[in-house]
Amino acid sequence: MDHDDKPEVREFLIPKKKFRVIFFIGKGGVGKTTSSAATALALARMGYKTLIVSIDPAHNLGDVFMKELSDKPREIGENLYASELDMKKLITSYLKRLEESMKHMYRYLTVINLEKYFEVLSFSPGIEEYATLEAIREILNSGKDWDVIVFDTPPTGLTLRVLALPSISLIWTDKLIELRRKILERRRAISNIKGKQEFKIEGKTFVLPTEEENDEVMKELKAYRKEVESVNTMITDPDVTSVVGVMNPEMLPLYETERAYESLRKFNVPFNLIVMNKMMELQPEIPELKVKIDSQKKVLEEVDEKFKNVEVVKIPFLPREPRGFNELEVIGKYVVGMT
């Protein structure tokens, strides 16, 4: 579907409930940052209080706006706020926090010799994704401060894993809750016959909890489930979240966008729009570049065929990279659908 001539604003980019969340995903170098910056600017100009956050460790959001950015949102124009999250710092502080809480809470750490386990844990796979998800969750929790939150994300792989995390965490938590229930049921049965069950370790005596309300493990499980579910509800709600795939009219970005489309669909994250960047249009035709134009045409045909219900915006190849507000606004209007 090509709706370039459609004058109305794309509904999935403007707030419908309290606020709107837009993720820009895509292969490295296809123009995610430029497209997201342009979209954020266009939405801000429409009067929506917009926050754009870069969670890509290789930041260049500041370069596109030509402003210095930090991890605190900075007002860079009317209704427009921007920040660059320092992912490295974030991960380090996430690990530090974990380490601190462990040192505080594991009095029995030395008893059963768990230090080594925690050393391993900080290198455990996925720690980066969890830290990123925590960061996104924090920003989403401040959602009421904004009308629109735009995320400029790292290249597809990491982003997809992050967006899939809430669903996967829910599966884990549900399984663990189920297992915990079985344990508590059995403990209840035993204490019905034999009375309160005690457990002694290092001279301290604990009463083994038998009810869900007294069991700290169950309480944590349920609290965690609630938190994850709130994120999951947000990112799977088409009235809140939209994912925009950015690509170039070439085969490799096409394959990657396709994979992203498939896996987001599996996790019910709404994928609404493809921004086709750097479209070549040559008048008159130059024979040396005919191959390029032909392959571009082929990619466009495939896109039309493979992405049903996804709109496509074509951005022409520009003589130079757009930087600064005026140039960005032109592109932003394309994406939002005002031109």
Binding site: Y108, L114, R186, F199
Partner: protein, 94 residues
């Protein structure tokens, strides 16, 4: 032996018998509970033994409350060579 002492002994004997009955009746459930607690701890500490593990954030939040489970897991590992002993004694095989 006075009458009161006799009664006390008699009562103790019955109490002991009741305890033993109770122990026998809950033996299986206790064994099962320990197994489940062991599995729970193993799952939470999966990354330690190389099995897929739950979200790290969740693991960290659960760990402080898992003294009992981790203890059971450790005991289980230590008694690994005598697991048949435990099962046979449960079924009264000498």
């Amino acid at each position: 032996m006075s009458k009161a002492e006799k009664i006390k002994k008699f009562r103790d004997f019955f109490q002991g018998m009741m305890e033993s009955f109770k122990d026998q009746s809950t033996g299986y459930i206790e064994f099962e509970t320990r197994e489940l607690e062991n599995v729970f701890a193993l799952l939470i500490m999966g990354s330690f033994v190389g099995i897929p593990s739950p979200p790290t954030t969740l693991v960290i939040r659960l760990m402080p409350h898992m003294v009992r489970e981790v203890y059971v897991m450790q005991a289980r590992a230590a008694d690994m060579d005598d697991i048949f002993g435990e099962i046979t004694s449960m079924f009264d095989i000498d």
